[in-house]
Each structure stands twice: as structure tokens, then as C-alpha cells.
């Protein structure tokens, strides 16, 4: 504690009192000023905030220091000093002159590197120019300049300290402002970039979608493109088989046919798999008869099994309903694949197929299809991969037994598509049991099974020779179809496209039309639609139309019926299928015609 003088005089006390009062007043003023400065932040948010802050700064300074002119400069990007604010405005030039002089001297540069006020004599007598750099810890932002009506040494120390405090506040606030600006810029940029990105993503999506469409179109086209020559090979081979051949030639032909059949299987597998992978495989739900499905699918396999010396049998549990709704084509595919594999990989013994069913709580029926064989079996560790695409038990299997390795993969996908699952139990040398669960629903109406005999109609002669209009644009397909039909004993007229077909049909009188679907200009659907239209107009009996489809899309089936067709055969066309289709269609027509007659006569 400093010692107080032993006996303060009255004057001393008065002086002390004055000192305390002045100090007190000075300090309160400063507190006031600082308190107002702390509001600078909120001014920032207003419009023209920066200018307002500069104005407020100058205002606060003038409360405590008697500047006659004040100006704030900031550093531009090119390192020159730009006047931001001047009060009074008409002093701007004068200040500029003073500053220029100080720059010349070097005093300006000096002041810029200090963070305290630097007063120096100005050009006018008894006035002082005060320079104060506007700096923060991170940067130098500009300069304050002011003119005081005092000589340099008359300037109050306290004023300089206060000036420093106020300008520090202001500079940090202005730095904040520019940081906010940067932030806003960033956010604007961000918005812009988000928009750009969204556009990019949108473009990418459109591209991806068109790629998917292209893929689908490709699949459809490929399907058609591949099956057409296959049709040619198989059809021609069949026709060749009906001609006079030497035993050697017959042997060669058998091999051609075998190869062509195998090739067709492989192609179908690949196209099916591609379709599934592209997500383009759809279920075609319709009523069918379970027993009939098994019969028609398995009888050909039974023949093959018998030839190998193994037995093939099937059984449907008595409680299983026969009339169901499902995609019979795909179920057939699964059946044939599993049973075909069983026959293929069994050298001796049996292949047995069984179907049982269980009712689920929600009314769905779950059918369990089991295909059991006494064949070579599958190693347990391979069992888990057997349904993966392109895997077979081992590569030697491919060599001995052939195949693409896609069959089981396709089976699994199809089963899954229908809402079920597939599994295998097996061990080497002990045979295998493949089980698939298939959810199916009951159909309300009974579907009358066809009671015809399958296959072997090539033996029978047709009862009547029909006049058939063949509508087909591909030359090779024309030749095949004409060849087969003529072999059966029918008379064939060919139209190369839909337009021709309409003309020829109008002028001629035909019993039946075989209509290719994929044709340029009018496709098969459109041509059929027009035929039906004209038939209605002229009240003609509708002519049976059988579609020849490459099964490119499952929707084809429905489209066929929607456009007025009566049936379809698949390409490549075969003798057996054509015969059956003609037989069914004509029988149906006969029934139709007789009922009409009956109706008319009433």
C-alpha cells in the first residue's frame, strides 16, 4: 500500500477530489461508449450494415474525442486503400491530401504496422493527423484517419486509449461481417451446387433408364433375331427328315437335330436368365390344371428315361386341388428342368416326382414339388452353390453332361418370383432330392382339361385339307412353315406383311390364318385387329387366327387374345405343335359354328 502523505493540505484534498471526479466521469463515459459498441454486432444484420457500423463508430468516437474530420479506409484486393466512410463528407479530399503526404513520408506505412494511434503534425497549423491501423489478430483490414484541432503533444493520452478501444471493436465487427458474407456466399454456392448436382443426377437417371430400356429392347430383338435362324435350322431339319434319306444321311440328320435342340435349350436358358437379371421377367397368371401340366411336361421325359433304362413316375397327393391359378409356363419350365436333370444324372434306378400341398393361414396354398432320383448325387459343400449361376458340380460335369449351368439358377429365380423357394438334399452316390415350394391360389371356376392326345399327330392324316393364309415376313420362316403345312396336306398362301395379308384375306377365302407377330409396319396384333374390325362390319364369321410368337415378352399371350387371336404356337415352329394348334382351333370353330347355326335357327 503506498503511504499517504502525513498531512494532506486542503488544496491537496481538493485536487484529489477533482481527480477522482474526473476519473469517474471519464470512466463512465468510456463504459457507455463500450456498451454502445457492443451493439455493433446487431447492426451487422441490418441492410447496409457495414456502412451503418462505420457511421456508429465515428459517432462513438466523437463523443470522447473532438475530431473535426474522420475517415475509414479499407484495403482493396489490389492492396490500394479505398475510402469507405468520411464525416463530414466534404472533408474527404483534405484527408486524402494529408494521407498522401504521410504515405510519401513513410509515416502511413509505419502506422499500418502498429496497433496504437500514431499522431503526427498535419499540414495545417496547430492540427494533428491521427492514423490508427484497423487490425485483427489475423489481418490488417484498413486505416482510420482523423484530424484533431490540437498540436500533437496537446492530445490527451486517455483519448488515444479510447480511440484504440473503439476501433478494435469496430475492426473485429467488420471482420465478422466479411466472415458472414463469406458464409453466405458459401451457402449460396452450396445451393447452386446442390441444384447442379440434382440436374446431374436427373440426367444420370434418365440415362440409366434409357440404358435399361435399351437393354430390354435388345433382349426382345435378340430373342427374335436368334430364334428366327433357329427356326430355320430346326424346321428345315424336320422337313429333311420327311424326305428319302440314306441310313447315313439319317444318322447325320439325327445329329443335326440333336445339336439344334441342345443349342435351343442353351439359347433359351441364356435369354431367360438375361431377362430375369434385367428384372423383366413377369408372371403370367392364368387358370390351369395341375394334373394335366404334369402329364404334358413329363411324358416326353418318361420316354427318354425309358430309353435309358430308368423309371420315371409322378404322383399328386389326393387332397391337392387340381384347378389352380398360376403361371403354368414357368411351372412347366421348373418341372422339366428338375426332372430333366434327374434323368440326365441318373444311370440306373428311379426318378420320382411328387406334389403335396398345405394350406396356409391366409388362404394361400403351398405346393411342395419334390423330384427325387437315384443318380450320382451332389457333394454337400457344392449343394449350397448349386443354385448359383454358372456353377455346376464340377467342370467335368459340363463336359460329360453339357448344359450352361444356368438351369438351376433360372429355376430358383422363377420359384422366388412366384413367392416360393427351392432347396436340395444330396450326397455323393446317394442320389438327390430337389424340393420347391410354390404358393398358388385356387381358381373359382373349373378349368376343363383338354382331353386330346399329345404329340404323335404327325402319324395321322388331317381330315380335311385347309386353305391357310401364312403371314410371315422372314423368308426362311416362310419356307419352314410352308414346308410343314404342305407336308401335313394343307394349301398355303403367303403374305409377306400385314398390309398384303389384309388384301389377300379380303379377296380370298381361307380357313385359317397363321400370323407372325413381329413384322414391320403392321405387326401381327394390328393386322388381326383390322381383320376382326372388318369381319364385324361385314358380319362375317371370324376366321381362326393362330399367332406365331417368339415369346419375347410374357405379355404376348394376353395381347394375342386381346387382339382377337385364337391361339398361338411358339417359334421355332415344329410339326407337332402346328398340327395340334390347327386341330384344336378347327374343333373349336366347328363347335362355334354349330352353336351359331343352332342359335340362328331358333
Amino acid at each position: 500500500m503506498p503511504e499517504s502523505p502525513p498531512e494532506p493540505s486542503y488544496q491537496d484534498l481538493l485536487e484529489r477530489n477533482r481527480f477522482l471526479e474526473e476519473t469517474n466521469f471519464h470512466n463512465s463515459t468510456i463504459l457507455d461508449v463500450l456498451s454502445d459498441c457492443s451493439n455493433f454486432q446487431s447492426i451487422l444484420a441490418q441492410r447496409d450494415g457495414i456502412r451503418k457500423i462505420m457511421k456508429a463508430t465515428v459517432c462513438q468516437i466523437s463523443r470522447v474525442i473532438p475530431f473535426t474530420a474522420m475517415a475509414l479506409y479499407s484495403i482493396a484486393e489490389d492492396a490500394s486503400f479505398v475510402l469507405d466512410y468520411c464525416e463530414p463528407a466534404d472533408q474527404a479530399d483534405r484527408l486524402q491530401t494529408e494521407i498522401d503526404a504521410k504515405i510519401q513520408e513513410g509515416a502511413f506505412a509505419w502506422a499500418l504496422n502498429q496497433n496504437h494511434p500514431v499522431p503526427s503534425p498535419s499540414s495545417a497549423e496547430d492540427t494533428t493527423l491521427v492514423l490508427h491501423a484497423l487490425t485483427t489478430q489475423s489481418s490488417i483490414r484498413g486505416m482510420f484517419a482523423g484530424i484533431l484541432p490540437l498540436t500533437t503533444t496537446e492530445i490527451g493520452v486517455a483519448s488515444l486509449k479510447t480511440l484504440s478501444m473503439i476501433l478494435t471493436y469496430t475492426t473485429y465487427t467488420l471482420e465478422n461481417a466479411s466472415l458472414y458474407d463469406q458464409l453466405h456466399d458459401h451457402m449460396d454456392n452450396l445451393e447452386e451446387r446442390v441444384q447442379e448436382r440434382t440436374k446431374e443426377l436427373e440426367a444420370a437417371r434418365i440415362k440409366a433408364e434409357s440404358a435399361t430400356r435399351a437393354k430390354s429392347d435388345f433382349l426382345a430383338t435378340m430373342s427374335h433375331e436368334i430364334r428366327t435362324p433357329m427356326n430355320g435350322i430346326i424346321g428345315m431339319a424336320e422337313l429333311l427328315g420327311g424326305t428319302e434319306l440314306s441310313p447315313e444321311q439319317q444318322e447325320f440328320l439325327r445329329n443335326i437335330t440333336l445339336s439344334a435342340d441342345n443349342l435351343l435349350i442353351i439359347i433359351n436358358d441364356i435369354l431367360d436368365f438375361s431377362k430375369i437379371e434385367a428384372g423383366r421377367m413377369e408372371l403370367d397368371l392364368h387358370p390351369f390344371n395341375l394334373g394335366e401340366l404334369l402329364e404334358t411336361s413329363l411324358i416326353p421325359l418318361k420316354i427318354a428315361a425309358n430309353a435309358k433304362g430308368i423309371s420315371l413316375s409322378w404322383q399328386i397327393e389326393a387332397e391337392c386341388p387340381a384347378h389352380l391359378i398360376g403361371d403354368s409356363g414357368k411351372i412347366r419350365q421348373i418341372l422339366i428342368n428338375l426332372a430333366g436333370n434327374a434323368v440326365k444324372f441318373t444311370a440306373k434306378g428311379t426318378v420320382s416326382i411328387s406334389i403335396t400341398c398345405q394350406q396356409r393361414a391366409d388362404g394361400l396354398l403351398i405346393f411342395l414339388l419334390k423330384v427325387a432320383d437315384t443318380g450320382i448325387g451332389i457333394a454337400p459343400d457344392i449343394c449350397s452353390h448349386i443354385f448359383d449361376p454358372f456353377s455346376q458340380a464340377d467342370s467335368s460335369t459340363t463336359r460329360s453332361y453339357g448344359g450352361t449351368g444356368l438351369g438351376l439358377a433360372i429355376c430358383r429365380r422363377l420359384v422366388q418370383l412366384m413367392g416360393g423357394d427351392i432347396a436340395v438334399e444330396s450326397s455323393i452316390g446317394q442320389g438327390s432330392v430337389f424340393s420347391a415350394t410354390l404358393p398358388l391360389t385356387l381358381t373359382v371356376q373349373e378349368y376343363a382339361p383338354r382331353t386330346h392326345q399329345p404329340a404323335d399327330l404327325s402319324e395321322q392324316k388331317p381330315t380335311v385339307s385347309l386353305s391357310i393364309l401364312l403371314v410371315e415376313d422372314e423368308i426362311i420362316n416362310q419356307k419352314v412353315a410352308v414346308g410343314i403345312l404342305q407336308k401335313i396336306g394343307h394349301r398355303v398362301t403367303v403374305a409377306a406383311n400385314g398390309k398384303e395379308a389384309l388384301e389377300i384375306w379380303r379377296q380370298g377365302s381361307f380357313d385359317l390364318i397363321f400370323m407372325d407377330i413381329q413384322m414391320p409396319e403392321f405387326d401381327g396384333f394390328e393386322t388381326t385387329r383390322r381383320i376382326r374390325q372388318q369381319e364385324q362390319q361385314h358380319q362375317l364369321l371370324p376366321i381362326p387366327v393362330i399367332a406365331m410368337t417368339a415369346y419375347a415378352a410374357d405379355g404376348d399371350r394376353q395381347l394375342c387374345f386381346d387382339s382377337g387371336m385364337n391361339g398361338f404356337v411358339s417359334k421355332p415352329v415344329r410339326l407337332g405343335e402346328l398340327t395340334e394348334a390347327i386341330h384344336n382351333t378347327m374343333a373349336h370353330r366347328k363347335a362355334l359354328a354349330s352353336s351359331r347355326v343352332a342359335a340362328d335357327s331358333v
Binding site: 513520408e105 500514431v118 499522431p119 503526427s120 496537446e154 492530445i155 493520452v157
Partner: protein, 290 residues
């Protein structure tokens, strides 16, 4: 342990007689600066009363330490150019150095002692400049004053201090540790107490007090860390000595707090070395030697 050393320190301060007080001139200078009605002329007048102080300040003002473009001839110009607070801090440094100028060179050479303190002050100021600190002279004066605790040992317990230095040298132990052992406190705490007694700003007294135990600095940790680093640099450059023969360890958390790149040290040292001689000459002018 801290409170123990506090009582030991208090006892030390009590028992060894009067504590030296700041020169009156400096006290008046400080008061005038704080007076609401003071002008630059008033400041200049007070300083001018002490010719030695005036001469030294002008020499400093014109030295490469400031690198001013023109010659500074008068104290009032020095005030306007260098700044009021800055001039006060310079005056403090010079004044305190003057307080101890009659000390003999036993047991420690004053020349060597002050060289170390000046080196520390210079290092602290240079580091502070590189870190864009606001009050450079504050760091300068803290550096000059940081070891005056040892001057108090020399003034009041010269024999014991000599023994401590001997033990440190012969047994290769840190003088600082021996201080703690024998006295229960260190010269930093002693100097800190002194500066507080002199009512100097805490921004100077705290860094000085804790320049050897950085973790204790509560209000100005960054300034303390900087002073600590400056001390280590001064020791490492072997510019003088305050009795310690080895470089004290650099506190890792002080270094971390400063977040200075090691690459900065070289340019800092390059700045210190050329200025050290001239600064020592200016500040030590007129000092009497034994």
C-alpha cells in the same frame, strides 16, 4: 504443496527486510498515463526528468528493434511514434534494470545475468511479433524482469545462493530443483510476488511468476507459455546466464498451446542474434561493474 511454498515465500519476504520499491519516476509516469487529463506533453515531461532513462529510450527508439524510417529526436515524438503503453513498458524495463545496478558481481556476474534477461526479453518480443500479438513491449519487459527473483537472492542470501550454484554445477543438477529443495519456492514465484507488490499488471506478473511452471498460469496461459519458450531459447543460445548451467526443459503443453511450427524457430533466432549486441549495449550503458 503450493500453499506450503506460499508460506515459505511469505516468510522469506518478511524476514529479509525491505522489499525494493519501484523508482518514483516510474510510479508517477504510470499515474500520469492513467490520469484522464494527461496529454502527450505531460508524459514526455516526466520521462525527460531522468536523463539516463531518456537517453536509453531514444536509443531504443532509433534502434533496429523498431526500424523506424526517420530519426526520433525527442521523447514526445518517441511517444507518438512508439505509442504510450509501449513507452511505459520500455520505461519500466529500464527503470527496474537501474534499480539493481549497484549489485556486485558476486556470486553472479551482473553482465552475464542481464545478458540472459535481455536475450529473454528480445526473444519474447520477437516471438510475440511473429504471433501478431498486440502489445509487444509487454513481452519485452516480462522477459527483462523474469529472473529478478535471483537478484533478490543475490541481494539477501548471497552465500546460500552461491552454495546452491556450486551444488548445481558440481552435481549436474538443475538450480531450479535446488531452489525448491532448499527454499521451498523458485525465483519465478519470488519475482511474481515482487511484481504484484509493485502493482504491475497481472499480464506481466503472472507470466513471470509461472515461467517455470506453466501449468499454474490461469489468466494468461498463452503469454506465460510464450515467455517460457523465450527463456528456453535464451538459455539454448547461451546468451548470458542467471546461474543455471543447463537449458531448462520445454514444457510440452506450453509448446502445444502456442501451436508454433518448429520451422518458425530458425527465423526467430536469426532475428534475435543481430539485435542482441546493440540492445545489450544500449540497456547496459552506464552500468557499473565490480
Amino acid at each position: 504443496m503450493a500453499s506450503d511454498s506460499r508460506t515459505t515465500l511469505d516468510a522469506f519476504l518478511q524476514n529479509v527486510g525491505d522489499i525494493p520499491s519501484l523508482p518514483i519516476l516510474y510510479i508517477r509516469l504510470d499515474e500520469t498515463i492513467n490520469h484522464p487529463r494527461s496529454s502527450i506533453a505531460d508524459i514526455a515531461t516526466i520521462i525527460s526528468e531522468d536523463q539516463g532513462l531518456t537517453a536509453k529510450i531514444l536509443k531504443l527508439a532509433n534502434s533496429p528493434l523498431y526500424g523506424h524510417f526517420g530519426r526520433i529526436d525527442t521523447i514526445s515524438r518517441a511517444v507518438t511514434i512508439l505509442g504510450v503503453q509501449q513507452l511505459r513498458d520500455l520505461s519500466l524495463a529500464v527503470s527496474v534494470m537501474g534499480m539493481f545496478k549497484h549489485l556486485s558481481d558476486y556470486p553472479l556476474s551482473m553482465e552475464i545475468f542481464w545478458k540472459h534477461s535481455i536475450a529473454c526479453g528480445l526473444a519474447a518480443r520477437t516471438l510475440a511479433t511473429s504471433q501478431r500479438e498486440a502489445n509487444l513491449e509487454r513481452f519485452f519487459v516480462a522477459g527483462i524482469l523474469h529472473d529478478i527473483g535471483r537478484l533478490v537472492y543475490i541481494m539477501r542470501i548471497p552465500e546460500q545462493f552461491r552454495e546452491m550454484m556450486k551444488e548445481s554445477f558440481e552435481e549436474h543438477r538443475s538450480l531450479l530443483d535446488i531452489e525448491h529443495e532448499q527454499l521451498g519456492f523458485d525465483h519465478g514465484a519470488l519475482a511474481g510476488a515482487l511484481l504484484k507488490e509493485w502493482k504491475l499488471p497481472v499480464s506481466i506478473s503472472e507470466p513471470v511468476e509461472h515461467h517455470h511452471n506453466f501449468s499454474q498460469a490461469s489468466r494468461y496461459p498463452r503469454d506465460t507459455a510464450l515467455l517460457h519458450l523465450a527463456d528456453v531459447i535464451a538459455h539454448a543460445l547461451e546468451m548470458g546466464s542467471s546461474g543455471e548451467h543447463a537449458v531448462p526443459p520445454l514444457a510440452p503443453d506450453a509448446w502445444e498451446l502456442l501451436a508454433i511450427s518448429p520451422a518458425l524457430l530458425e527465423p526467430v533466432i536469426k532475428q534475435i542474434e543481430p539485435q542482441f549486441e546493440s540492445l545489450t549495449q544500449i540497456l547496459r550503458e552506464g552500468a557499473s561493474h565490480a
